[in-house]
Amino acid sequence: MKPLQRTALASVINLILLGMSSAQAADTQALEKRIRELETRLAKMDQLERRLEKLDQAGLLSSKPLALAAPAAPSPEVEKLNRKVNTLERKLEVQDEVNTGAFQKLPVFDVGENGFRITSSDKKHQVRIRGAIQADGRFFSEDVTQRSTDSFDLKQARIWLEGYVFKNIYYKLMPDFAASGNILPDAYIDYAYDPAVSLLVGKFKPSLSLERLQGDSDGTFLERAFPTYLASNRDVGIQVHGAFGRPGYSAESVPGPIDAKNFLTYQLAVENGAGDDGSPNNNAGATYDSKEFVGRVFSHPFQHTTPWLEGFGLGIAGSYGDSNTQALKNQATPIGRTTYLDYTKTNSGYAAPTADGDRNRLYPQAYWYAGPFGLMGEYVTSNQQLSSTKSGKAVSIKQDNTAWQVLASYVLTGEDNSFGAVKPIQNFDPFKGTWGAWQLAARWSELNVDSNTFKVVDPSKSANHATAWTLGVNWYLNSYALIRTDYEQVSFKGGAGLDANHVNNRPSEHVFATRFQLSF
């Protein structure tokens, strides 16, 4: 308390005491005692005030922070450490720069829905590793003559490479370890410089039968229908092919002999000529000079128009060749693969006929895929000269075979049907309640063998007509795996012995077949 305030207080108290009586003296003593106590306290407060003033003057009571002393210069050891750290940091940055450059040049390895692929960092080169395993079971019912054998078969065991180098040069190298004779079905180079014109050289599927041009892992049934087997399975040669887009649209470059994407496609090839269902072995070269010319034109005329018509395609293919004593391959039933036309079983005195002379084929073909629905059909007329001998004399016959098929399929689970594989929207996973994709299919197919054939071939041992109807269920577990189940009944005319100058009909074939397939 300041002196002025103390004086004022004392004055006030004294003034009050001046007006007091003796009766009030006792009170006065108490008051005096109180005043003395107050004075003592005031003195103490004075001391406290003086001490606070001293502290304030010393700056210990100030709100401003005290100024810190300037930091000392870093010691040489610290500087040395700093430089070491800087050096290490820079080394790491340089290493990072080098690694980034190196990483950018590393190829990209991709494993997923599209299989296994290695692509160079500049995207100019690619290797794709693919494979397919097909394990079949065939079970014949009502096989009273034991003509056929129930069996489990390894139909395909393929692992192959395909890809491109320098962006435009495609290749495919596909061995099949389950094949008995032809262990290299496909081996070709395709220089796809421009979608309108590409050059394919090597061994590949001839562009004849529409169903043959479906991928070997695609398709609707375990096996193809009759028309397919009147064209070569594979052949060696050279093909020019190309595609055009609908006016106003660009064509997509599709390497290889199969193009189901573009508005208009063409293929023109010169091949050795492998014969009906023929496929040359690796070490089998051509045995004669003349070659087979193969041509095909196919169109998707409604592409980029009405969605439900976009998947409609039609075309025509044909071949012309001139064979020279080429062995004929026996014809077998589609699913059961049992021989019903055996060229080696001839009439008495006749040698087994060979294809010798002109050979022409004509394949009008079409398909239509719209949403879950699919329809495909083709017809073939195959004319070829056959030659044989009887008692040393040459025999020549003209064989005009015809065949046709219609197949229809329907995907039950909502996926789109297609010429290629059905891709499930949801993979099979019972714990999640997803069941993959399911497809139903039906097919009718017929083949008629020219009656001229039986001048040489024994009609009691080979049928002259076969009719097959097939029902199928396909279960696509995912993009890679599927299970096919087919039932086929084939009825024949002829081929089952003579009975009072009448050739009996070979008993119908009833076959139930299933396939487990993995392809990637």
Partner: protein
């Protein structure tokens, strides 16, 4: 009458031509260069653009790419569409012919002075006060000296650095290669970090304060003194160094495709003009024009220079020292 009519036609045509507004062409060039030439071409490009505009009426825009010389050559070989290359050494430019025939075989004779409009040399940059007392090449191989120099595998300047050191070591050891190998082995043992290019090495030394000495282009050292202050660094000129001759070339294959052959050729030719040589001198390169060189001679310290010819030329030097498993690979593996 016929004569008058013809005169009228000609006059009318000339009038139309004189008054018509002919559209100026716009041209783009890509100059793929080595690391430290950024400042030079930053100054040179607008000068050339103005010159070209006055000469032809056309507008030209020059885009630059800078990195280690070897790396740049590889980029062009891998598809970078350079109209011109202005690299650090003839070997890198020659690869464009050897590997892909992008330039003619006789490219080096197409422009004066072996297609080198400027030269330089290799010097040292040290901290202010030269605390480690570095005066010459033999000082930087001493124990305890930390060197910054780029990697010869990617940088052209680094290869010049190596050859300068090698040349010095040969000269001071009776041309004994074993002694020279020991010398450069110790040099790279002292290397704190090997940047991918000369500019990266400068950054490490100047900004990151790594190392005691930077082995670098003479022009780069002067640029550092100018940009960062002569109060922080000193330039030390060794007694002996190599004459560096960075060449330039039109990438004819690309220029033909772009339709830029004429402007690209003139772009390089103009480097030899007085205007170009002045800019070269200002940016601390040694001009090849004698008159301009004399004008800028004072800014350079005198030193003894030898040429790449002493090694048998770049092909020999590249194969011997810098190819895979060459001497540098052997040395740097030993030096680590």
């Amino acid at each position: 009458m016929k004569h008058n009519f013809l005169k009228l036609i000609v006059a009318a045509s000339l009038s139309i031509l004189a008054t018509s507004n002919i559209q100026a062409a716009e041209v783009k060039l890509l100059n793929v260069s080595y690391d430290p030439t950024r400042e030079l071409y930053q100054e040179y490009n607008p000068v050339f653009a103005k010159y070209w505009k006055e000469k032809t009426g056309d507008d030209v825009t020059i885009n630059q790419s800078h990195a280690g010389s070897g790396k740049q050559a590889r980029s062009v070989l891998e598809g970078l569409e350079a109209d011109v290359v202005t690299l650090a050494l003839a070997y890198d430019v020659d690869q464009l012919y050897q590997k892909r025939k992008l330039i003619p075989e006789d490219w080096q004779s197409l422009l004066p002075n072996n297609s080198s409009p400027y030269t330089s040399t290799i010097v040292f940059l040290v901290r202010k006060g030269n605390p480690k007392g570095i005066k010459d090449w033999n000082d930087i191989v001493k124990s305890g000296i930390s060197i910054v120099t780029p990697n010869p595998k990617t940088s052209g300047g680094a290869r010049w650095n190596f050859l300068a050191a090698w040349g010095y070591a040969l000269k001071h050891n009776n041309n004994e290669e074993a002694a020279a190998k020991t010398f450069v082995t110790q040099l790279y043992k002292n290397a704190a970090v090997l940047d991918t290019g000369a500019r990266g090495a400068t950054t490490s030394f100047v900004e990151r304060e790594i190392g005691d000495v930077l082995i670098t282009w003479e022009n780069e050292a002067y640029m550092v003194l100018k940009e960062f202050g002569a109060d922080k660094f000193e330039l030390v000129t060794p007694s002996l160094s190599i004459l560096t001759e960075p060449p330039v070339a039109v990438v004819e294959d690309v220029a033909r495709k772009h339709g830029t052959t004429d402007v690209a050729t003139e772009y390089l030719k103009h480097l030899y003009s007085k205007e170009g040589q002045e800019l070269i001198g200002k940016n601390y390169y040694r001009p090849t024009d004698p008159e301009v060189a004399a004008k800028y001679a004072k800014q350079f310290q005198p030193l003894q220079l030898f040429k790449i010819d002493e090694f048998g030329g770049w092909n020999v030097a590249q194969n011997k020292f810098f190819a895979d498993d060459g001497l540098f690979d052997q040395i740097y593996g030993a030096g680590k």
